[in-house]
Symmetry: C2
Subunit: 271 residues, 2 copies
């Protein structure tokens, strides 16, 4: 399968219209319960910057805010560099479905040129069973985008209803696809929601805002072998209808690719 034929590449494809606007379209393959999978939305914004003619360097950090629902259909992406320095470039981003409506998505991003410096990784890939020796976990709910991710948990069933929301798993695309910045960004939103882990079952949730810090440049990322990434995630707190999720993503070779955190709205069905 050529990369461009992969459903993920189709999902994040953008078309430049004659009036200079970038247009995308929600993907049935990456549809969530009532809206697109947020990871695809983040990856689409990243793709818009990666293919922008004024781009400097590689993605360093981004924050995407889910301000309103995206409905099935077309959407307009706007990414603009607001300030470019010698080593960093700051972007503003938004997605609207109609030019006269409030944005559904807002955000900012930083791209950067990395230099050869002293380096060290404190967050190391844990010593765990490799993905080939683990079964694919059945999706916990019948939603399309879950069919597009091959999740292999190293500590057993994530929906175990425990006192600790931490989970660890291998993450791969279906069908397999080489890691790149858009796919890693999407992986950052692919963790089973921490509330499901605690409660042992799906409940109504919605990501409010998601941030990613990248820890490799494009050259290092291109050198990574293996079609899986390893992800570890946990929550710090659930309180007043919102909870957070923190995650780390490594390559199979052990490179720390990204760290991410998000805040999630939830509805407490017990009340």
């Amino acid at each position: 399968m050529r990369s461009s034929d992969h459903p993920f590449d189709q999902a994040i494809t953008l078309t430049l219209k004659e009036d200079g606007t970038l247009h995308g379209r929600t993907s049935g393959h990456y549809w969530n319960a009532i809206s697109p999978f947020g990871g695809t939305t983040v990856a689409t914004l990243l793709q818009a910057m990666l293919t922008h003619p004024q781009r400097l360097g590689d993605p360093l950090a981004l924050t995407v805010n889910f301000a309103g629902p995206i409905k099935e259909g077309d959407f307009i992406v706007r990414v603009s560099p607001v300030r470019t320095g010698r080593s960093t470039q700051h972007w503003q981003m938004e997605i609207r479905q109609h030019a006269d409506e409030e944005p559904a998505i807002t955000g900012t991003a930083v791209f950067a040129v990395r230099r050869d410096t002293w380096s060290d990784t404190e967050a190391r890939l844990p010593d765990v069973t490799p993905p080939d020796a683990l079964p694919r976990h059945p999706a916990p709910a019948r939603v399309p985008f879950l069919e597009r991710y091959d999740m292999r948990y190293v500590d057993g069933d994530p929906l175990r209803g425990t006192e600790d929301s931490a989970t660890r798993c291998w993450i791969g695309d279906v069908p397999p696809r080489k890691l790149d910045f858009p796919s890693v960004a999407a992986y950052c939103d692919s963790f089973v929601p921490r509330l499901f882990v605690r409660k042992g079952a799906p409940t109504p949730i919605s990501t409010v805002t998601l941030s990613i810090n990248f820890h490799v440049d494009s050259e290092t990322l291109a050198q990574q072998q293996g079609m899986f990434a390893f992800g570890a995630a946990k929550a710090n707190a659930f309180n007043g209808g919102f909870y957070d999720q923190e995650g780390r993503i490594w390559s199979q070779d052990g490179a720390l690719l990204a760290t991410t955190h998000q805040l999630v709205w939830f509805r407490d069905q017990a009340l």
Copy 2:
């Protein structure tokens, strides 16, 4: 000392001009080596939203990007709600020093109304020596803003040049000041830089982007006793001239107030 007389309150004070713009001024008390302490900048943006007539609820999350230098003197703050829902409100923020220049600071924020739901905190305040039983740590460098923070480390000297950048300390304002959202936001940027911890000495660094997730509402925050917060911070990776820092902030009563992460540019003096 009345709250409004505190140098921190003076530093984040904003004035509404006749043309509708909000103006601030850099504070000598919170000056860093060559620019304002970033924590004050973040707190000033937060203060602008907290005092905005259209504000909904309490701060939930924010990302502040340090796109260019702020020079000593006046600056213009712009915060605008871009989309307000039933329980969340999304903001865009920027700071410029001259209306016709590129922004020095960009960012987004989310405010939210919390509801009574199931709650649990997984990130617990460690069992450590209370601040009254610890000495104030001497500032590692002669910069004004460090005089405004009373840091009391529970694991000894942070500039120890170890293989692990993790530090834990009590953080208080000088003079003492009750915790509120702006001060907690500033604490999120007050951790001694992770590179200094690893190298055992200050080196040239600059925060590129900083994000904060808040885990309490204003009512809970107002109930917290004690003039210190407890902070734990660490880095995940140093690579190619950039490193990250993750931190957690608790009240003395043990409430998790905020989690934060930032990406920092650094110059490698060894090369």
